[in-house]
């Protein structure tokens, strides 16, 4: 299997941490993976994107023009990248920050109120964990267990006290994806 996850938001939303965590989970599962952050002259509050490719085979390009899945964290990313997601693919939209009914019939869409779920879990900064939990539960790119196991590898040791809260956020996102979802099924 081959999974491509393109994540985009603004600096501070934890987009790059999310990419690292997903990649580390794939490493734990002994899969091949590449993690490529957008690299440029970046500043706080600016755009942050990364691409994670997970494969059983050799990973080819770490950059993808039309990724199989998009995790869009803010309106700017929605405007810029929503149309790029490959036909038949999947898009997770952070509906807390992305308004409007913009739709596509040729991909699966999950509108996730990530900021709201993060706040309910206990910290606004858990947006990335909630979103990853939902993405993983929906696609099965890695298991939720591997994702949680990866936390201790990816988070700096001084933040290990927050691991239980992060796990809770992952579960909350996953639960939302499995139940209260608003989807538009791809027409095949």
């Amino acid at each position: 299997m081959n999974y491509e996850a393109f994540m985009a938001g603004y600096g501070g939303q934890g987009v790059l941490v999310a990419g690292n965590l997903l990649s580390m989970a794939a490493i734990i599962e002994e899969k091949n993976v590449s993690y490529f952050p957008a690299y440029g002259v970046e500043k706080r509050g600016g755009a942050a994107t990364c691409t994670v490719v997970i494969s059983d085979e050799e990973v080819g390009s770490p950059v993808i023009g039309s990724p199989g899945a998009g995790l869009l964290f803010n309106q700017l990313s929605m405007d810029k990248y929503f149309h790029r997601i490959r036909k038949g693919g999947f898009c997770l939209i952070n509906s807390s920050l992305i308004d409007g009914e913009e739709n596509r019939e040729d991909i699966e869409i999950l509108r996730l109120p990530a900021n709201q779920l993060a706040l309910e879990t206990g910290d606004a900064r858990l947006v990335n964990m909630v979103s990853l939990g939902a993405y993983v539960a929906h696609t099965g790119a890695v298991s939720l267990e591997s994702l949680k196991e990866a936390l201790k590898e990816v988070l700096p040791e001084r933040n290990h006290g927050f691991i239980p809260l992060n796990k809770e956020a992952i579960d909350r996102g996953a639960a939302y994806a499995m139940t209260g979802t608003e989807k538009s099924r791809a027409q095949r």
Binding site: M24, F36, G40, S61, P62, I64
Partner: protein, 356 residues
């Protein structure tokens, strides 16, 4: 099996250097390679090595020259404008027959340009970037694992032939994270550095490291000796990767990051039944001339993909069979100008469909 680590390309390179026995680093920070000096500054003092942040690029290349003259494994790293500054020192190292590793994690130019991925330093790297008509060994990793492996190889080849070696990468291979399986360094049986200036001790002969040859016919003989060594490099040390070349009707060629992106494009072509192969030079100098010649005896079309306006394509054209056609898809560097596999696939279709 060793543990699979998840690391950045630049860190993998630094790890490979230390594992290969490099204990001396001299450099001056510049994006997108600063993880290399960062890693070295942290790790070298712990293992009895020496890290020096020099006052400039010029100082650091000359510190490398000095360390190498003493017979130790040493390195410097920088990015394009910094590598330009080092050219004088590299020429002196080449002339003095000194080994040593120079890492260029390229940015885009010319001039100050930008920090985006670029392969526009190909000419500078493989044609002898400084004065005086020399070559250095140039290796182009396309994965994090190769950042580790080829760094070790670069030290070995450099020591064996007494020619400076360069790793040529960019922000794609430098900043990307992937699985790395580190492995122990094994010395391939390199000759001792009896030429080093390590103190005369009991030796009769004095070791002299120099690039100045004023005697009658001396410099010509010196040049001929160096160029004989380059010929042996071409004969013995060429490395490349061939993917599905056997039945290819179109060969894509690219190195480093462009090759990585092209691999997916080639796979896309194969999935729809197009007979497309990939020839990826790993040693840019010595260039895999014979591999191109052989592959184009049966396949008459080559598409060269580069993150520049066309440089390696010239070496490809010099190497292929005389009847082969060579096409270029060159993407000059800059923000947002990195090609996607989809775009390269479009180019493949264009040149493949022209085959009747």
């Amino acid at each position: 099996m060793n543990k699979r680590l998840f690391v950045k390309g630049n860190d993998a390179l630094a790890m490979g250097a230390i594992e290969a026995g490099c204990r001396y680093y001299f450099g001056y920070p510049i994006t997108p390679q600063s993880e290399i000096p960062e890693y070295m500054s942290r790790e070298l003092p712990r293992i009895g090595g020496e890290f020096i942040q020099a006052e400039s690029e010029i100082a650091s290349i000359n510190m490398l020259l000095g360390a190498s003259a003493c017979g130790v494994r040493a390195m410097t790293s920088s990015s394009s404008p910094g590598i330009s500054l080092k050219q004088e020192g590299i020429s002196y190292m080449a002339g003095s027959e000194l080994p040593g590793l120079i890492v260029n994690i390229c940015r885009s130019g010319p001039g100050l340009g930008g920090i985006d991925a670029s392969q526009a330093d190909y000419f500078q790297a493989v044609k002898g970037g400084g004065h005086g008509g020399y070559h250095i060994i140039v290796l182009a990793p396309h994965s994090v694992q190769e950042m580790y492996d080829l760094t070790m190889l670069a030290f070995d080849l450099s020591d064996l032939y007494r020619i400076p070696a360069m790793i040529l990468g960019d922000s794609v291979v430098g900043q990307m994270k992937e699985a790395l399986v580190p492995h122990s360094y094994r010395n391939p049986g390199l000759p001792s550095k009896n030429w080093a200036v390590s103190g005369k001790g009991g030796r009769k002969e004095q070791s002299i490291i120099k690039s100045l040859y004023l005697g009658d016919g001396e410099l010509e003989a010196h040049n001929l000796k160096l160029h004989e060594r380059y010929r042996i490099l071409k004969e013995k040390e060429v490395r490349y990767e061939g993917v599905e070349l056997e039945d290819a009707r179109l060969i894509v060629t690219a190195f480093g990051s462009a090759a990585r992106i092209s691999k997916t494009a080639v796979r896309m072509a194969r999935e729809v039944g197009m007979q497309v192969g990939l020839l990826r030079p790993i040693t840019l100098y010595p260039f895999p001339e014979q591999a191109f010649r052989k592959a184009t005896e049966t396949c008459g079309r080559v598409l060269c993909v580069e993150l520049n306006a066309g440089q390696m394509v010239e070496d490809v054209r010099l190497s292929v069979h005389r009847d082969a056609e060579v096409f270029l898809y060159g993407r000059p560097p800059g923000a947002g100008s990195q090609p996607t596999p989809e775009e390269i696939f479009e180019q493949i279709k264009k040149y493949y469909e022209a085959i009747s």
